[in-house]
Structures are given as structure tokens and as C-alpha cells.
Symmetry: C2
Subunit: 307 residues, 2 copies
């Protein structure tokens, strides 16, 4: 969709607009809609994880916002007519939530929620439901009758048992154990040697500054090894799948009307899940930035009604 | 031993002296001996891991050296009469080994070896043998008939299955799984909650910048939980002990005359090892800085004989 298509909406700059932001560790996505929920523009900018850099997160948010406005043929000043919903990670940190609430933002109104809540609202078109994210990290989230439950999401060192980063790390660990002949032999040793062109301590040095996403990028190699009937790779994937199945059954206890599995591992991992779990899954309907818009619309309506 | 005791050695500043250095991630230890192997002085300074900071490692080495000389009642200029043996981590990195070999050092002669080799030479008074280090990290090393074998030592993320850091990390992981009711209930959840005064995502945030030694400091809590018959803590310690037992049996294949278990976990972990393994263990006889002196004396003798 080009900006000219959006311009046919023939917006007046004083029309009420809704902006949805999904800020993540590597990208920030935005979406602009009018009060009738029609998409007017979208944007994509850089990292927006306030845990790592608050300043950079705000810059990425504003950058993505301006892109959405430009695509809609609107000036930056239109932000003053825009009700914004912003979804971010790290809001469980009290200091971060406080700093963000004190932001002198340029919007008509600002409503902030967690990245998980927005993903869930998006997946279920603003209605109650649950989501499991199996991507670089892993976690579960459920929003039913105003109750919000989060499970996992503790990062690649202390959790994320159903994530790509964890799978990659466990594959390297298994290869190093096999190299030392202190663990079962595995194709992963050869596969990772070919991939990195080194092994042992040199591989460890090579990975010294590796990020979770670097480990997550190894998952296709692990699925290949499992396809070639490697017992170690198979066990690693089974363990990740079993965690995701456990998450699903735990979320199901809260009786969400819908449950969606999302993230880069959703497709490759699905055949490994328990049949009981795959029977429960429904596809996500919309993205997290749309979820942020649903959130902003709902919260703003409450505020306006109250006022 | 005070410096006056050492001064009774009534050294002439032109006597040949031997310096041994053991540089580690948090401390650098030095020892000065005369040609008759009598200890003249010792020193203790800061971090000397060249992987993290080469400049700081050299500073710590020189600082510890000066302390040894001062304790022996000798001036800094005596370094020119001193044959130094320096043991450091990270020497498997080609660039690091090259930079170190180009160092314009102040010694009469300088011989460099790995921290593991020095620990092994110390443990067995300069003779062949093997060591297992179970401390913040874990690894095995064997030096027999001029052959050197290293096993493990890949760090807390990718290896160190018999280490304090790994035990600590696994305990936190188990507690977080129990909190989410996605893993077996465990006393570790209560113990770590009491210890950190928080749990869940706040605990994860609290540990965001935790170092391996911070996780290793949790090991007494895990041994307490195991003593109280907690199944999860027991399984974690059994797994670490099983890795150390495997390391021992693997090293034993090289027929080392002696095998020593060292590091902060050596004492608490010994009762958990296989009986076959504990029967193989002999106590370490001397420390790694003494091992560095043995190394320097031997290498220097070769050089002098050759010249």
C-alpha cells in the first residue's frame, strides 16, 4: 500500500487518530488508524527496549510514529490529535514505568501496556485470550476477565526453555560435551564445526559476545539434525516442545476463549507439540501494533466516558 | 611470615631469583623463591585475566611482583635478576599469546604457560599428573609425558557443568520453573526468595548483571536444600558431581600418576562423587604460583643448557 492510497482517505488534520506502537529489542513497529479502524499508515524503526536504553526507545517510537504519519500524508503536528497506545517490554520494573509515565509526550493521550498484552489483544482482535511466544525467547500470557497472567519470559540464561536462543545454546553445549567425549556423540558437533569453522575453546571465544538472536539463528541446523535422526538434537527439540506444551496446558487452566502460538519457532515447533495442545491452537488474527491500538481505543473511551 | 624473616636469607641483589605468578579473573598471586627453592616473599593483587583487559593483567602482575620483592627486602630493580614464570588464562587465543610474547618485560627471562598447567605442576610438585578444577568454573587438565590435555572450561553459558556458577544458575532456573508451576516444587524457591527478597521477573532483573562468581556464591544454599532432602537441589548436585566423576574417569585414561580435585567446590562435592573416583584422588601439594616457579625453573634450565 503506497502513501497515495492512504491519502484517498482525505483526512482532515483535526480528525481523531489512533496510533499503535509495538516496541521490541531489535525493531519498533507503528500503525496509524482512524476512528473507524481503517489503516492510514505504518512505520518501522530501530530498537525500542527501554530496559537497555530509554532514550533510544523514545527515539525509535517517535521515528516510527513520524513514518506512519508521513505515509498517511499527515504532518508531525498531527501527533497532538493522536491517541497513542504503546506496548513495551520491561514495564514490570517500577522505575521504568515511573519514568515513562512522566514522559512529556507529544500525543493527545498516551496509554502504555506490556508487549505481551498488545500481542494478545492483536492475536484475538481485542478480545480475551492467551498467547504463547516461542521466538528468540519464550513466554506465555493470558488475559481473561481483566486478569493478566504471565508465565516464563525470564531470558536465555534463567529461563526461555521453549525458545530459539535456548535451543541454540543447548546445541552448542551438547557439541562441546561430545567433543570432550563427556556426552553422547551427535551430528551437532559436525554441523556446528562446519557452520562456525572452528570448535572447542575457539568456538567458545567466537561466541563470547553472541546475542540471544545469534543462538536463535542456529535453530534450523538443529531441526535438520533432528530430521537426520540425531538423538541429541531430537531430545533438545522435544524438551523445548514439552515446555511449550506445559505452558499451553497451564494457560488453558484460565479458560481463555482462544490460544495462539506466535514467534519464529511457532511453525517448526508445532509438529512436535502434544496433539492435545495443537488442537487448542488458533491462528493469531492481527499483530501487536494493532493490539496496541485496540488497547488505546478502549482505555481512551473509558477516560472520555469518565470525563 | 614477615619481611624480616625473609631478610635473614641475607640475599645479595645479584642472586638468581625465581618468580611465580598465577593470574586469575579476580586475583593475581605471586611468589618469589631463590635457586634453592626457598620462599622469599609473596604478593596478592587484582584481576589478571588478559582476555578481559590485557593492560590490567600486566599491571596486576607487576604489582604482585613488587609486593614479593618488597617482602623479600629487595628493590624493584631486582626484577632484572629474576626468572619469571607466569600462568594465565586465555593463552589459547592466538592474538593474546602473540601480544604477550611481544611484551617488553622487566625480567631476566620470562616463561609463560596456562593457569591449568601451573595448577597441575603445583598440585604434583612439578611432576606429571592431572587436576580437576571445580570452582566458579569447571575443567580437567592432564600433563603426562609432555602431553597436555584440557577438558571443559567452556564457561558458565556453554559448559562448566561441574561448577559453582552453573549450580547457582540451575538453582535459579529451577526456582523460576517452580514459581510458574511448570516444574517440580522445591525448597529452592523459598530459599532464594528469602535470600534475594524478591522472585520472578524482579529476581531476573536483580540478576541482570550478575557475574559467574555471584551465582557460585549461591552454592551453600543449594547444599543446604539438598541436606533438607529437597529432590531438585539433590538432582542438581548429583548432576554436577556426575560431570566431575566423568571428567576424572576421562583424565584417568591418560594414566596420570596423581589426580587432584581443586577449587571451592572440591570439599562440598567430594561426598557426592563415585567411590571409584574418590579412591583416585590425592590432595594437591602446592599452589599454582609455585607451579609457575617449577615451570620457569625447568624451562630456564633447558634454555641455559641449550645456550
Amino acid at each position: 500500500v503506497t502513501s497515495s492510497t492512504y491519502r484517498t482517505a482525505s483526512l482532515q488534520e483535526n480528525t481523531e487518530l489512533y496510533l499503535g506502537i509495538d516496541g521490541g529489542g531489535s525493531k519498533c513497529r507503528s500503525q496509524l488508524r482512524n476512528a473507524q479502524c481503517r489503516i492510514l499508515g505504518t512505520g518501522l524503526s530501530g530498537p525500542a527496549n527501554p530496559v537497555y536504553s530509554f532514550t533510544q526507545a523514545l527515539e525509535s517510537i517517535l521515528d516510527a510514529t513520524r513514518q506512519s504519519l508521513r505515509e498517511a500524508g499527515l504532518s508531525d503536528e498531527t501527533m497532538a490529535n493522536t491517541v497513542a497506545g504503546i506496548a513495551l517490554a520491561g514495564l514490570h520494573i517500577p522505575q521504568l514505568a515511573k519514568t515513562l509515565s512522566e514522559w512529556q509526550h507529544p500525543f493527545k493521550a498516551l496509554y502504555i501496556t506490556t508487549d505481551l498484552h498488545a500481542a494478545c489483544l492483536g492475536a484475538h482482535q481485542g478480545r480475551d485470550g492467551a498467547v504463547i511466544i516461542a521466538g528468540t525467547g519464550s513466554c506465555g500470557y493470558c488475559s481473561v476477565n481483566g486478569q493478566h497472567i504471565t508465565l516464563g519470559g525470564y531470558g536465555f540464561l534463567l529461563g526461555d526453555q521453549g525458545s530459539g536462543a535456548r535451543l541454540g545454546i543447548e546445541a552448542v553445549r551438547a557439541a562441546l560435551l561430545a567433543l570432550d567425549e563427556l556426552g553422547p556423540q551427535t551430528l551437532l558437533l559436525d554441523i556446528l564445526r562446519d557452520h562456525f569453522q572452528c570448535e572447542g575453546m575457539l568456538l567458545v571465544e567466537h561466541l563470547m559476545n553472541a546475542k540471544p538472536r545469534d543462538y536463535a539463528s542456529l535453530t534450523p541446523l538443529i531441526f535438520s539434525a533432528a530430521e537426520a535422526k540425531d538423538a541429541v538434537a531430537t531430545a533438545l527439540i522435544e524438551s523445548a516442545a514439552s515446555y511449550i506444551s506445559d505452558l499451553a496446558m497451564k494457560l488453558q487452566q484460565h479458560k481463555p476463549p482462544r490460544l495462539s502460538l506466535m514467534g519464529g519457532l511457532a511453525v517448526p515447533l508445532t509438529p512436535w507439540l502434544d496433539q492435545t495442545v495443537t488442537d487448542l491452537l488458533s491462528p493469531p488474527l492481527e499483530n501487536a501494533e494493532t493490539g496496541s491500538i485496540y488497547f488505546a481505543m478502549r482505555e481512551h473511551k473509558k477516560n472520555v466516558t469518565t470525563a
